[in-house]
Amino acid sequence: MPSDGSSNRLANSRRQFLRAATLGSAATVLRPTRLVGQQNLGRSLGDGVGGYGGRSHFEETVRRLRASRYPQAAGSLTPLQDLYGTITPSALHFERHHAGIPDIDPSEHRLLIDGLVDRPLVFTMDELRRLPAVTRVYFIECSGNGRVKWAPAEPDTDVQAAFGMTSCSEWTGVPLSVLLSAVGIRNKAQWIVAEGADACRMTRSVPLVKAQDDILVAYGQNGEALRPAQGYPLRLVIPGWEGNISIKWLRRLHVVDQPYLTREETAKYTDLMPDGKSRQFTFAMDAKSVITRPSGGDRLDGSGFYQVSGLAWSGRGRVRGVEISTDGGESWVGAQLQQPVLPFAHTRFRYDWSWDGSEKILASRCIDEAGEVQPTRSALIAVRGTHSSYHNNAIQGWRVRSTGRVENVDV
């Protein structure tokens, strides 16, 4: 219909106009359009108050799906290039499901803790919320985050595609140690098999030592209940470790004497080395960082000042420092870290940069408090080969062409 078509065109042109007028989308040319007196000279009342708030309809960034045969056994990627600060909005937290997202009524959900315990117990959600709770900011990163199979850099790969399987939330829940003291751990106990309530009943073996240290049984994410895609109503959050082990839709903790060699810690999430041996129980995520702004797909609007910004994190504690290179890794200089720097959390770094208009290669490297320095792709491959699918923490480069175009490149 003509009226529908014209109103759509109107809405689209207004949207385009305003996007160009603000510094909103990093993927567009960052050129402000001069507006005299701004819009809305004749002012009208805006919307009234509402129930569950949504974002401005001018904001369009979304997760992007990873190619997969089945949407239920797939992943979606966080648009890191469009985020500020360190917390990932719950609606943009990356996803990795192996059998879809279950639809769980929290009033019917139970957590069983059994096995090598003195008092096997079943908890309702209400009972779990009666227990002492803590709130912590932790990242969760899929150990497969990074370019598939160590492939050389494709110029058009952006940060969302290359790094989008990491997200950071404020989690609230019961320390697992509290639950373990409630059931009483027996002497022979060494591991806990955690089981999810998704269709595939995802299981992983968790070392008891970590369980008694800092693991959360979480029901809260960024101030509200977990999102269904993040394990509603209950999940493990295991700080610093590969995301797969933070079992979502948690229904059972089975205390045992040895790792149970579940499919996810044998066939998957093990790292095949050049000698044919595989590393197993490679839990911690290595020191990692990436520049998110500017990043692949952006186009800089001429020489001049650009603040470079990105995220750094480590599964071994706090980020100690981030260094920036503008010459493809030939030289490095320190970046500013947004305080507070929290352990096992995304850390925002910033670096003031004046672009002279010539071709540059931007890169960042993370140094964590364990002393680990983020390596180059070639250094990683020299030790680990290219047959492992996980734990690729290689330095990411962005080539800034003299045209302003930003491309993915290896350093």
């Binding site: 803790i113 009972e127 409630a182 706090r318 030289s331």
Partner: protein, 480 residues
């Protein structure tokens, strides 16, 4: 002397080290319902590598063939090798080659994993739909496709865990960190020493007599020293003190920043006895003169007061650790290294390269420093000290020379040594090794030395009052 900024970050750091809750407090008692056997069974089985959790039942590959063809082959292929979804068979011997094929037969370390996974997750679109015997049958068939069991071999809770999978020894523990760290460089190519560094340690300068002949402490001794030091720094030990005595101690653990043991018995690493070398006759003469002056003319002039009391400098460059403010901030720009010491905020600007020294006639409390790179090591030579610069109660001379060596060995650590040459005072040079580490979020604090602003005049005025009192025969013991 005191630092005026509360070390909030240190306090926060201590809190962060505490366990996330008091796990042993039993707070969860009475919450949660005891699980009945029926409930535990209803949750389903979890199968371990020794067969724990395998239910009664069993089957054979022959029985599994039709089931596999109908329920599994569409995704995994009729022989388990066609795909498109994960290959289940073949690939043995391929793992160390160019194109490794990770299948149940070539890769999975335990046959029990297959039962557990099929039972909980397969078929993909109807997980949990297979009866127990059907799971045994499909498992038997997949193992048969890999040549690991016979066609009619019974697979059950006893036989399954005993199947020796080809890759059962193919897994190793996590060896990370497994990469050599990249060295640090500044933007202009110099080794990067920048950061805030602590040289705090409780290890004494000189080896205590009772540790004679020993260079290192045992791990147990180090732990004991660190524990004792931590206890000494806490306020708990002050519980028994009167308020007056407590106040007179002035500092509590908010201020102390003494560090831990280095593991050595002394900071002096050369001479090998860990002790300062002997004094020359001139050295002894100067030390005696210094002691006499301190005893007989302690308050004649501000010049008789110690340098740190006058907020001139704490204890000369390079330092020896004390109770607090054992902190360097190192900054670099092309051609210069700047070393800020938190104590009294002494700053050394160290030119690099061949820049000539100041004139012999220019003498400074902390000398004149020049630096150079020897590979990745920053070497700083300092001379042109004033002869009056004392050091931990020992005299110095204008012939003093210090050579410091800084080498960054990892992101959080600099190897730091210095050698003191002063042939006027000592019979030989000596070398000190200090820790230099950068704990997370370590910062420099403001340092406010108030004695230099206000107290010296009062100290001297008090001494004059005391002298007049003595002359007039009135007792005025200032010490109270």
């Amino acid at each position: 002397m005191c630092r005026s900024a509360l070390p909030v970050i240190i306090v926060a750091g201590i809190l962060e080290l505490c366990p996330i809750v008091d796990a042993a407090s039993g707070q969860a008692e009475g919450v949660g319902q005891p699980a009945t056997t029926a409930e535990v069974e209803a949750w389903g089985s979890i199968v371990g590598p020794d067969g724990t959790g395998l239910p009664p039942g069993g089957s054979t590959a022959t029985e599994g063939r039709l089931l596999y063809d109908r329920q599994c082959a569409a995704c995994h292929g009729l022989t388990g090798q066609e795909g498109p979804d994960p290959r289940l068979a073949g690939g043995v011997g391929s793992l160390g080659g160019e194109e490794p094929s990770k299948t149940v037969g070539s890769y999975w370390p335990a046959a029990t994993t297959l039962w557990d996974y099929v039972n909980r997750a397969m078929p993909f679109n109807r997980p949990g739909s297979l009866a127990v015997d059907d799971v045994y049958a499909v498992v038997a068939y997949v193992l048969y496709l890999n040549g690991l069991v016979g066609e009619n071999q019974l697979i059950d809770g006893d036989t399954l865990p005993q199947i020796e999978m080809p890759n059962r020894d193919g897994f190793v523990p996590d060896p990370r960190p497994d990469l050599a760290n990249t060295s640090f460089q500044t933007a202009w190519g110099d080794p990067n020493l920048q950061g805030v560094w602590s040289y705090a340690t409780i290890t004494p300068l000189q080896r205590p007599v009772h540790l004679e002949g020993r260079t290192f402490l045992s791990d147990e001794e180090v732990a004991a020293q660190n524990r004792d030091s931590a206890i000494r720094a806490t306020s708990e030990r002050r519980n028994g003190l009167t308020p007056e005595r407590d106040l007179s101690l002035a500092y509590n653990q908010v201020w102390w920043d003494r560090g831990d043991s280095t593991g050595r018995t002394s900071l002096i690493v050369d001479p090998s006895d860990g002790r300062l070398p002997g004094l020359t006759p001139e050295g002894r003469r100067r030390q005696e003169a210094q002691e006499v002056a301190r005893r007989e003319h302690p308050y004649d002039s501000w010049e008789d007061r110690p340098l740190q009391e006058r907020c001139m400098t704490y204890q000369r460059v390079p330092p020896v650790p004390s109770g607090y403010s054992n902190t360097y901030q190192i900054l670099q720009v092309p051609g210069f290294v700047v070393i800020l010491n938190e104590m009294i905020h002494d700053v050394r600007i160290v030119p690099l390269g061949d820049r000539p020294k100041v004139s012999e006639r220019v003498r400074q409390w902390n000398g004149d420093s020049r630096g150079r790179w020897e590979g990745k090591t920053l070497v700083v030579e300092t001379s042109h000290y004033r002869g009056q610069t004392t050091w931990r109660g020992f005299p110095g001379s204008s012939n003093l020379k210090a050579v410091e060596r800084f080498t960054r060995v990892d992101p959080g650590r600099i190897h730091y040594r210095y050698t003191i040459y002063d042939e006027t005072i000592y019979t030989r040079p000596f070398t000190v090794e200090l820790p230099l580490v950068s704990p997370p979020e370590y910062v420099v604090y403001e340092y406010a030395c108030h004695e230099g602003n206000y107290s010296i005049a009062n100290v001297l005025a008090g001494a004059r009052v005391q002298e007049r009192s003595v002359r007039s025969g009135v007792s005025a013991d200032l010490k109270d």
